[in-house]
Structure formats: structure tokens, C-alpha cells
Amino acid sequence: MNLLEFQGKQLFARVGVPVPEGRVAATPAEARRAAEELGGKVVVKAQVRIGGRGKAGGIKVADEPQAAEEAAAAIVGMDIKGHRVNLVWVERATEIAAEWYVSFTLDRGVGRHLAMVSARGGMDIEAVAASDPAAVVRRHIDPVVGLAEWQATDLVYRAGLERAAARPAAATLRRLYRAFVDLDCDLVEVNPLVLTAAGEVVALDAKVTLDSNAFFRHPDFEAFREAFAEDPLERLAREKGLGFIKLDGSVGIIGNGAGLVMSTLDVVSLVGGAAANFLDVGGGAGAETISDALEVLTRDPAVRAVLVNIFGGITRCDLVAQGIVDAIGSRDLPWPIVVRLDGTNAPEGRAILAEAASERVIPAATMLEAAQRAVDLAGGR
């Protein structure tokens, strides 16, 4: 789960990483009050879960409260790469002596944590990494023991961060790493981490992605969602425990397992159709889950036909069939459903569908056949 900047900064403060003082504002008037409370020069920053807001005009410096109000008026409501800005973060301006880049993430290629540090922080770090790879120091960290003090120190000196600030910089790296691990983050990225004119190390930005699998350890993290401008369909799917992503086509896709659903998307595309969504019911889905998945698709007016592609393993095809029959019985589904069942209890599942004998349900023997039927029924592309 990607956090907004100000939420990431709240987490940094928990582990002792200094961040500039600030306030959240939803309106220009609130931004003005925030600037008045903070006093002096402030920065007004769009809170969106996407990069590039600086170039898009989503960050403005304001010398006094009136300017902050005007900046917020310009930013709130902006569209940044499809993300609407609902909130701004107003924070005290920082006098910058140096800008660094720091991130902690998992390197899936080796199965270890990866620290990346650069003395050339700022907006264009990807360009720096591409043009001068040595400018971004990369070091793997053994997750068994974590980031040792020597390793934080080594990162600081090797990246060529300002020598006079080596101790606070290394200490900040260790705190950010602690946030990464103890708060179960998939990513902690600070760009820039700055050295202030006063010699302090401060996180000026915060890009934090939380591992939602670990929310059982952090029940308070659910509350972060309240500030998001979440798509209502995606919110409904999440609440039902379904993996859902909205797409542009007309064939609604329901499948079990991300790989099979991705493959179904590919096959629908290859036979000339386009998927309306990605919807993974996960492993071990029962009748209610399938029924819920169909309900989610009813909310999307772009859907013309639905393809249910299930290969049972831990999921039982009889329960899937029962869920389809239940959904048809309780709701007036506006489209035909092409169903392909194989694997655990597939014969029982096919029998349940045959017995229900609904004309809305079209059985298919193979994945390819199912995709072709669904695309035909949706009227092609």
C-alpha cells in the first residue's frame, strides 16, 4: 500500500528520523491557517500517490500565509497523471546545504534487502542511475541481522556524502532501515534526504510502501486509507477480499490465481478482445467469494460479458459453481457468463451448473474456447 508523503513522514517521526514540521490541508483556507501556525516561509505540496508532482506544478514555495492560500488554491483539485489532488501538505521550508538520495527495498533477484544511497539526490535520480551508475551506491543487507553500524557508515563514505555529517547521516540510515523492517515496508525512499545549513539531516520527502500482509502486526495502518482518493470499485473489491484492478475493455474476467488471470487477459487480447478488469479470487475461494466477485462486476457499466476461468486446486470447482448459481438466483445479472472449470471437483462443479440450466451460463471446455466465446458475446473489441 503506497502512502502519501505526509503519512510516510509520520512513520519516520516514530523512529526518530527528523522531518520538517507541517500540517495537512484540504482547502486553501486550511492551508493559510497552517502557514500562519507554522510561521515564516512554507512549502505547499500536493499529496498524491504518484511521482513527478514537482514537474507537474504540485509543489510551491510560499513566503507568507496569503501565498500559501493561493498555492493551495492552485494545487487542490489538480490532476497529476490521473490522480486527483484532494490534500496538500504545508511544511516549514528547509535551508538546504546538500541533497541526498536514500532507499531501502527488497532485491527479489537475490532475496535480500538492498540499500541505495547517492550524493546526487533530487528529482532526476533515475537519470543519474542510468547515466552514471557509480553515483548510486548499492549494497545488499542480510535480512537475518539487518543493517549494521559499519554498513551504514560504509554507505555514507562510499556514496561520498558530506564527511562532516557522516555520523548523523549513518544514524539516519539506520533509523530509516529500522522503519523499513519494523514497520513492514516494501519500500522506504527519501529523495531528497537533506543536510540543512544548520548541519542537521532531515527527510524532505517520504515514499513509503507498506506490506499489507503484515497489517496484522500494525492494525493502525488501515486508517491510512482514509486519506486516499480510492476508486469505489477497487474499494468494494478490497473490502470483499478480492484482488481487483480496473481496465479499459468489455470482458469481465474472474479467475483464481494471479498467473491464471494474467494468462486469461493475454488470451482474451490474443483472440481480439479486451479485458474490463483483472479480478483474482485468490486460493480457496468459496461460493460467497465468487458471488461477491460477480457483484463487483455488476457495478462496472463497461462489462458486456464475463469470463470465469477456474482451475481448482485448493479452490474447489463445486463451490465456484455454487457461487455462480447463487449469484444468478439472487440478482439480475446483466450479462452472460462463460464458465470454464477444471481441477479439484470439476465434474461436480460442471454438474451443478448443468443442473441449474441457466441460459446466462455458457460452459466452455478450454481456456481458449472460453476466451473466444466471451469476446464474441461482448461484441469483439
Partner: protein
Amino acid sequence: MAVYVDGTTRLLVQNLTGREGSFHAMRNRAYGTNVVAGVSPGRGGQEVQGVPVFDTVSAAVEATGANTTLCFVPAPFASDAILEAAASPGMRLIVCITEGIPAHDEARVVNYLRQTTGVPLIGPNCPGVISPGKANVGIMPHEICLPGRVGVVSRSGTLTYQAVHELTTRGIGQSTCVGIGGDPVPGTSFVDVLSRFEADPETEAVVLIGEIGGEAEEQAAAFIKAHMTKPVVAYIAGFTAPPGKKMGHAGAIISGSSGTAAAKKEALEAAGAVVVTYPTEIGEAVAAL
């Protein structure tokens, strides 16, 4: 002897008393797998359809000589259960079905196992491993399998079934099918399984099922090029997939251009693998080898 599991497998099921644990343990037993024990702390002394339950892995292993474990322990406790199994003398394989284990727990456990016991872990978040006609350790629907000489390895659960199904419906049997799972830090990689298939006299060809993200397919391609003499048929899912989780600039810096379905297909083809476009072509491609 087959890869990973066979007639010598003595299976322990962790959380045998759970709904999924008991369901799949009994399916595995019905297939011929020698299910010798279950573990559920606090339930020692009970039985599940004749299989004795113990409080701890060490007690179960001592009493039954279990040498393989199948873990259905819920995600918050699963990494601890894997460590428990790995610490048990004589344990030669851990298969973990559990999905949703926090990434940091998984990274710690996988690295710790590599550094210490070296007991192979398949999964987490995987369908397990089956050697058709010999043993099934996991949740794969064994009805779709057929004994034979093609090894199957996959990151995706249900796509594994799809691949096996395509083989079986064309009369092509499998030596062993391994679902390594799609989690960020899998205990077993494509390369681990490919090297076992290459060494396995009962395997003559390999089917590899990959998907977008990570570098596992690229690493597999490098291994195939350098070490495989047996032919490989591959399928990659996700050509039209929406972009996944954004990992900030860090993700872009790490992965560069790798990780896309097209890049993976290209790498595998350059390594000499036959890469098919539809899952339905898997069987045809293997038949044509």
C-alpha cells in the same frame, strides 16, 4: 528416485487439524503419499482420520520418522513453523502452502535457512510438488497428472495446473511438477529446480511457466544457456497485464528494463528455450520436441 518427493517420503502436515490441512492431507494420502503425522500445538495425542497429531515437530519426527513437511500454518505463524521444521534432524524437504506471509518474515527465514540447515523450502505461497504415481505433497489436483518424463516448474499456482492439464490431455506424462510460488523471496528458485531436473534420469524435457516481475526467468535463462542439455518449453503470463505495484524510483533503478514479459520471453528464447504464446500450445510444443 524422483525429484523432491517419491515413495520414500514420510509426510508430516503442519496444522493438520485445520480445515485445509486435513482436506489436502487426506487427498494426498488417498493418492498414495505416506502421511505419517500431523502437528498442532496443544492437540498432541489427538488423531485426524488415523493420522497421529503431535504438539511439536520434534516430537512428531521422533515418533514417526517424518522426513518431509507440508505447512498449512496461518501466515502470522508460518515463518516460525518453517524454522521449526528446518531445525528438526532428518528433515529433507519443507513445502509451505501458506499465502500472505509478510515479506520481511519470508526474507529472514529464507536467508537463515540458506545460511544454516540448507533444508530446501518450496514456497511459501505455492501449490507444492507432485511426482505423478509416486507422491503428492501439496494442493495440486492430482487427477490432472499422468506419470511420465516431463518436468514442470512454475511460479504460478493455477497456471501450473493449466500446463499439466495441457500435457496430460495430449497423453504426455510428468516426472515431477514443482510450484515454486510467486512470493517475493521464494525458498526455491527456477534454477534450483532446473538443476535437479537436469540431473534427474527420469526427466527428459522441462516445461517452465513464468510471469512478469522479478528476475527469476532471466536467471533461469542464464542457467539454461550455461548448464541445460534437456529441452525447455516455456510460457510467460502477463503480456497485457496492468502495471503492478510501483516501487518508487528504487524499483526502476534495480530492475532497469528487465521484469517485463517481453524481456523474459526474449531471454528464454536466446537461451534456446521454445517459448509459446498460448497455454494451449504447451502440449503441442512438448510433443514436437
